[in-house]
């Protein structure tokens, strides 16, 4: 038996997918699963046609319509002509190249990073790519998953491989257990607040510790989803019984003997006890409070019981300048209590927080307000992540809880997270959003985004401002 030096999970995933490491070339990795959507694929298909190249393994690619689609209608042209052109192009491309597509109204349609896991397309020990930076979501299963550009989409189509430089490794350990009412969104926002919005550039991050192990699969997806928001190439969580139980029986997951063999292999994925990481960050779970962003990048975040910071709070000149610009754009004054910030829009959805547990959590908060309605002057929309999530929520009566309280219950899609459809904020709107980016103009030119958990978003809808639910 050969002995090998201790490896991190990332190194194991890397080694098991290394097709070739030729001298003078960037290493070539095998890609197991490729998710595609209408926005970042058309130019890749066009180049395949130009070169007369086929998709090598169409069965390893799955397509969905998510970024551009209307959340009010399943009609392909309901979100405008530009969107319709891309959606039609996707349908033609999938037909021509033999790729399975979940198109408008299909029972499996939804946001790529919601349907991958719920259909069992996302498996531990695999490499998963998609032309979308939130592909990191799938790392929750112990899959190496990351976003790629359109040239790389084409490379994967034609070769089922990708060239990648090896990243550095970072361990983020969240010790102990979070307090009552603290969500996975609060954990990841607190992590990003600690590292800053580029703190993990060049790294693949592995999340571990009791607080992470205690999370459900959907909560782990929320954590890994936002890995890109502090620059990480990917986020990973070691697969365990929670993972295997989730995957078992899913539509596309392996079955019977093959599943048993898979689990045996997946159990070997976790980082070796004495593996070394290039960087280690530790947080105490008990210190994590409900989080709200105040600025224009996800690292500009603070506890809900805090105040809007002042540029003087930052010693780094870049951070100071960034704070000045953010306060101006966000129209906030340093020293304002976070709970005194009023919103006029609420968005519950996106690949970060649109799964059934997110909707249950939000509905639970609505119920705590015992019949109170979404406050006058606030528009609140709920956009489930997929048709399966929507169906499940409706079977539990969650849609009724929301609509009775004055929320709008919409059709699945990426929606207001990036506003490529008609779910766009107006200039000056202030939104409590469960999405992943608070960049300037992200949800609409001149609009202001505060990233929060589904619970916080629901409370903001009812009260019109952020609420410390634990006080």
């Amino acid at each position: 038996m050969t002995t090998t030096s201790p490896q991190t999970m990332y190194e194991k995933l890397w080694q098991s997918h290394l097709v070739e490491d030729a001298k003078g070339e960037t290493p070539l990795l095998y890609v197991d699963r490729h998710l595609i959507h209408e926005v970042t694929s058309p130019q890749a298909f066009a180049s395949l046609r130009f070169h007369n190249r086929p998709v090598r393994h169409p069965e390893r690619t799955i397509a969905t319509m998510d970024h551009n689609i209307s959340t009010r209608s399943i009609k392909i042209d309901a979100a405008g002509e530009g969107a319709a052109n891309q959606l039609r192009a996707l349908a033609i491309n999938c037909k021509d190249f033999g790729i399975e597509l979940f198109d408008m109204g299909h029972k499996n349609q939804g946001i790529a990073h919601v349907i991958g896991p719920e259909l069992g397309l996302t498996l531990p020990g695999t490499i998963i790519v998609c032309g979308d930076s939130h592909t990191a979501t799938h790392g929750a299963f112990g899959a190496l998953a990351f976003g790629i550009g359109t040239s790389e989409v084409e490379h994967v189509f034609a070769t089922q491989t990708l060239r990648q430089n090896k990243a550095k490794t970072m361990k983020i350990e969240v010790k102990g257990h979070v307090g009552a009412g603290i969500s996975a969104k609060d954990i990841i926002l607190a992590i990003i607040g600690k590292t800053g919005s580029a703190g993990a550039t060049g790294y693949v991050v592995e999340y571990c510790g009791e607080a992470i192990e205690a999370l459900s699969m959907e909560e782990r997806m929320t954590v890994c989803n936002m890995s890109i928001e502090f620059g990480a190439k990917a986020g990973l969580i070691a697969p365990d019984k929670t993972t295997f139980d989730y995957v078992e029986g899913k539509e596309y997951a392996p079955k019977g003997e093959v599943f048993s063999q898979a689990v045996a292999d997946w159990k070997k994925l976790k980082s070796d006890t004495d593996a070394t990481f290039d960087a280690v960050i530790t947080l105490a779970a008990k210190d994590i409070k409900a989080q709200v962003t105040w600025g224009t990048n996800p690292g500009q975040v603070i506890s809900v019981d805090g105040i809007v910071p002042s540029p003087d709070d930052f010693s780094d000149p870049v951070e100071k300048e960034s704070c000045i610009n953010a306060l101006k754009y966000m129209d906030l004054t340093a020293g304002t209590k976070m709970t005194d910030i009023h919103v006029n829009k609420v968005f519950i959805g996106s690949c970060t927080n649109s799964r059934i547990e997110d909707l249950r959590a939000a509905a639970g908060v609505v119920q705590q307000y015992q019949g109170q309605q979404v406050v006058e002057g606030v528009d609140a929309i709920i956009v489930p992540g997929s048709y399966r999530v929507k169906e499940q929520a409706e079977s539990e009566g969650l849609d009724k809880i929301f609509t009775d309280a004055g929320f709008e219950w919409r059709l699945p899609g990426c929606s207001m997270c990036l506003g490529m459809n008609d779910d766009v904020l107006e200039e000056g709107d202030r939104c409590a959003s469960t999405s992943n980016r608070n960049f300037e103009g992200r949800q609409g030119r001149g609009s202001r985004t505060h990233l929060v958990s589904p619970e916080m978003a629901a409370a903001a809808a009812i009260t019109g401002h952020f609420v410390d639910l634990n006080s």
Partner: protein, 198 residues
């Protein structure tokens, strides 16, 4: 992809950190199925005062007459963070940029630049500060020599490095898909050994 050898061009200093891809090319301009037509929308919300893009913002640096024709973008840390949209480097390229110089780039954006033949150069923060200072005093023209990994201006020079294969690909305009397809036998041999569940 076009080959990159040397390039001499005017520098435009964009003194902002954490420029994200939503700023570089806002989402409403991603609804195309072609690879062209993005340059006019580069930095749309900063370049134009109105949503429709009819009123030019005279304060924004790319609109200033002294930087007309600039082909080298000098910027600050974490440039290109956010989404994986390759439309961002396409827009920069179509606008006329050949080189972007920063102290750091977001990973996906950096790779996308290489793949489209736009040269991203990392210098240390002191060097970036020095270039910003120079560009504030005068119209700064730099010569970027990729084969020798050096940027020069008169007596002044800055060295940079790229991963070996990325350097080779840019210099030779490699068709990366074709390059990998030549290794199909190696890929097939790898596939033959994969477990059933994979």
């Amino acid at each position: 992809m076009e080959k990159f050898n040397t390039h001499t061009g005017l520098v435009v200093p964009l003194d902002i950190a954490n420029v994200d891809t939503d700023q570089i090319i806002p989402k409403q301009f991603l609804q195309k199925t072609e690879r062209v037509g993005f340059g006019v929308h580069l930095f749309h919300d900063s370049r134009y005062l109105d949503h429709a893009g009819t009123q030019v913002n005279p304060e924004f640096i790319l609109n200033k007459v002294e930087y007309k024709g600039a082909s080298i973008l000098l910027t600050r840390e974490n440039f290109g963070c956010g989404s994986s949209r390759e439309h961002a480097p396409w827009a920069l390229q179509e606008f006329g940029f050949k080189v972007i110089i920063s102290s750091s780039f977001a990973d996906i954006f950096y790779g996308n630049c290489i793949n489209v033949g736009l040269l991203p150069i990392k210098l240390n923060e002191a060097e970036i500060d020095q270039l910003f200072k120079l560009s504030a005093d005068t119209q700064l023209t730099l010569k970027v020599d990729l084969p020798n990994n050096v940027i020069t201006r008169g007596e002044l020079s800055f060295t940079f490095s790229l991963n070996e294969f990325q350097q080779y690909s840019l210099e030779n305009g490699v068709d990366s898909v074709g390059w990998t397809l030549d290794k199909l036998d190696t890929i097939k041999a790898f596939e033959a050994k994969m477990p059933a569940w994979q």
